[in-house]
């Protein structure tokens, strides 16, 4: 998810099992309150896309989400899912086609894990054998052993496991759309991190259309293909890719929400595999000492990476090291204690580079085999390039937007386009 840095959402949707969601002038007014809780939200979400609503508490993000499956009935406006207008259809039928996962899992404590997961298929009238098979499949999918967890009750599970079962239940009837209302809000940070990774993996397999609500901007960056930053009354301050929001926040509200360290956060969005990995002179422990001496002398650097028998990074060897250790390979050099994979984020790589006393880290591939090296200079250069490219993209995008808006507002005053009224004019 995070590695699809520059692809547009619509380009990814091919072969997706998700459905599009269109919200049109969605408004919610509560009785006796002149201010609408949600004011005129217009938004299009592509099939198979993950969109995160993020904003301060009380901004109406949760209300907006709950209007999609009509847990809260909109006062006015239309909702279309997969092109079908669902604003006036039977809400019970609608909700069975839209997965729903909430904070603190919402599992029914008097039912077993299997009963909880099977409840929507059971209501839709699946035969028993199919439900049983589906429950096993879903438990497998969310990484819980079916044999072990099948008959347990929710109170016998940890918070993280409950949340997994909650997601399994939401997905059990294979809905094209999944709504998640701060689902990881109540678990500890380490478990939350795991669950987020798991969701990314799931989404890579399933390609559902996911709408995710959170107040945690870092979570939004990690999970979202696009992020909608919402201010009070659910006004959209900015609706764009994480990269664009980080490098080019639309206004002070958004930049305040992004918080300090946007460039650092940007590092989370790029993988080591996306930057240039440099080759480094290497030798293996089986090479004769003479060869290693030769290579040290010949190489441009005064250092060489020693690999073990299986080609994994083992030691950094400097020119003087062998002399000092009196020619014993076993005692010479410093052990490699940190490596990164191609899938690691640049932030992980930076962390490794910073803790390494010589400012570089070895990149490993399958089974930990050596692939190359990333150093400080490469990181700095790629971050600069990245930020520059983001800025250009954002400028171009903004330009397009302004043009289309200028064309829109002239004929019909106060017509469409109000969905992005928070963006700079």
């Amino acid at each position: 998810m995070a590695e699809t840095t520059s692809t547009t959402p619509s380009a990814r949707s091919s072969g997706a099992t998700g459905a599009t969601i269109e919200l049109e002038n969605l408004t919610k007014r509560y009785h006796g309150n002149p201010q609408p809780a949600v004011d005129n939200v217009t938004m299009e979400i592509a099939a198979g896309e993950t969109v995160v609503f993020v904003g301060p508490s009380g901004c109406g993000k949760s209300t907006t989400l709950k209007m999609i499956n009509r847990l809260i009935e909109p006062t006015s406006g239309r909702i279309r899912i997969g092109g079908e207008d669902v604003t006036d259809i039977d809400p019970v039928g609608l909700r069975r086609k839209v997965g729903y996962a909430i904070q603190s899992s919402g599992l029914f404590p008097h039912m077993t894990v299997a009963q909880n997961i099977g409840i929507v298929p059971k209501m839709t009238g699946w035969p028993k054998s199919r439900i049983r098979a589906r429950v096993e499949e879903m438990l497998d999918l969310v990484g819980l052993d079916p044999g072990e967890f099948h008959g347990r009750y929710p109170r016998q599970l940890s918070g993280g496991q409950q949340q997994r079962v909650g997601v399994a239940r939401a997905l059990a009837a294979d809905p094209p759309v999944l709504l998640m209302d701060e689902p990881f809000g109540a678990v500890d940070p380490i478990t939350r991190d795991h669950l987020q990774d798991e969701l990314i993996r799931l989404q890579r397999e399933l390609h559902k259309t996911i709408v995710f609500v959170t107040h945690d901007f870092d979570e939004a960056i990690k999970l979202g293909d696009r992020i909608a930053v919402l201010r009070e009354q659910s006004h959209i301050a900015q609706f764009d890719t994480p990269e664009a929001i980080l490098t080019n926040p639309a206004d002070d509200f958004v930049s305040g929400f992004v918080g300090a360290g946007a460039a650092l956060k940007r590092l989370n969005l790029t993988r080591v595999g996306d930057v240039e990995i440099t080759d480094y002179p290497t030798a293996t422990v089986d090479d004769p000492l003479q060869d290693i001496f030769q290579r040290l002398r010949a190489g441009g650097t005064n250092e060489i990476l020693l690999l073990d028998k299986r080609g994994r990074p083992y030691k950094w060897l400097r020119r003087g090291d062998l002399m000092r250790a009196k020619g014993s390979l076993a005692r010479a050099g410093t052990l490699v204690h940190d490596t990164v994979t191609r899938d690691a984020t640049l932030r992980d790589a930076l962390e490794a580079v910073l803790t390494d006393n010589a400012g570089r880290v070895a990149v490993t591939g399958r089974r930990g085999a050596y692939e190359g090296v990333v150093d400080m200079e490469t990181l700095i250069n790629s971050v600069h390039e990245m930020l520059e490219a983001d800025r250009l993209d954002a400028l171009e995008h903004q330009h397009d937007l302004e043009e289309s808006r200028a064309g829109q507002t002239r004929p019909g005053q106060g017509g469409g386009g109000s969905g992005e009224r928070g963006a700079p004019a």
């Binding site: 499956n69 847990l71 019970v92 039928g93 609608l94 909700r95 069975r96 086609k97 997965g99 729903y100 909430i102 904070q103 603190s104 919402g106 599992l107 029914f108 404590p109 008097h110 039912m111 077993t112 409840i119 929507v120 209501m123 009750y153 929710p154 109170r155 239940r169 939401a170 709504l179």
Partner: protein
């Protein structure tokens, strides 16, 4: 004739009375439970309806049992009818109150989740709310049963069935040889019945409360 000899000579009569006593309480409790839960379900969502139901049923409870039966006799006649009516009315209060408290105590997040995954109103009630409210409802039924055991004794006053007849006969013939034995046999019989019923409720709780929410 001491108490044991009395029991030996009258055991058939006593067993018949005990059976009728238990049967009256049991049947009235079934009716009270069904009615009480229905009233609870109808009233728990609205503040004033819930209050009305609990106030109405508590008011019934403040009427002394003897007066209640006395008042019912002109309306429904003597015998079984006033007994059943009075017992059912008294049995309602704990059930209604606990049903309302139990249904209101269901975590709103769970009700929200049930709605969110596409459960219709009746399905939500039958498969989520009532099962979760069942432990307090069962407690209400248990308390009501204990109470009815005692109140049923008074039914004998209106020629109703049960162990109350022993007690009233004893009181009526105070000073006679068997007066004390009669009162004692009636009272102890009611206590034994109450304990037996309570044991049955423990068993019912074991069987009907899902393991996931058993305390």
């Amino acid at each position: 004739m001491n108490f044991w000899e009395y029991l030996g000579s009258r055991h058939q009569q006593l067993l018949a009375d005990a059976y009728q006593h238990a049967s009256a309480v049991f049947q009235c409790m079934v009716v009270a439970t069904v009615l009480g839960v229905l009233i609870g379900v109808a009233a728990y969502r609205s503040e004033w309806a819930g209050n009305l139901a609990t106030t109405a049923t508590s008011t019934v409870l403040t009427v002394p049992a003897l007066a209640m039966i006395g008042l019912l006799v002109p309306v429904v006649g003597l015998g079984v009818a006033p007994t059943v009516t009075a017992l059912t009315l008294y049995g309602l209060l704990p059930v209604v109150r606990n049903a309302i408290v139990g249904l209101r105590g269901v975590d709103p997040a769970l009700v929200d989740a049930a709605r969110g995954i596409g459960m219709s109103g009746p399905a939500r009630l039958l498969r989520v709310e009532l099962p979760l409210a069942w432990p307090p409802i069962l407690t209400g039924v248990r308390v009501a049963t204990q109470m009815l055991m005692g109140i049923a004794a008074i039914a004998a006053y209106a020629s109703g069935p049960g162990l109350g007849n022993e007690i009233f006969r004893g009181i009526a013939s105070l000073g006679s040889k068997n007066a004390l034995n009669q009162v004692l046999a009636g009272t102890l019989g009611i206590i034994v019945l109450a304990l037996l019923f309570d044991a049955v409720y423990v068993l019912i709780g074991r069987l009907t409360i899902p393991r996931g929410i058993r305390g």
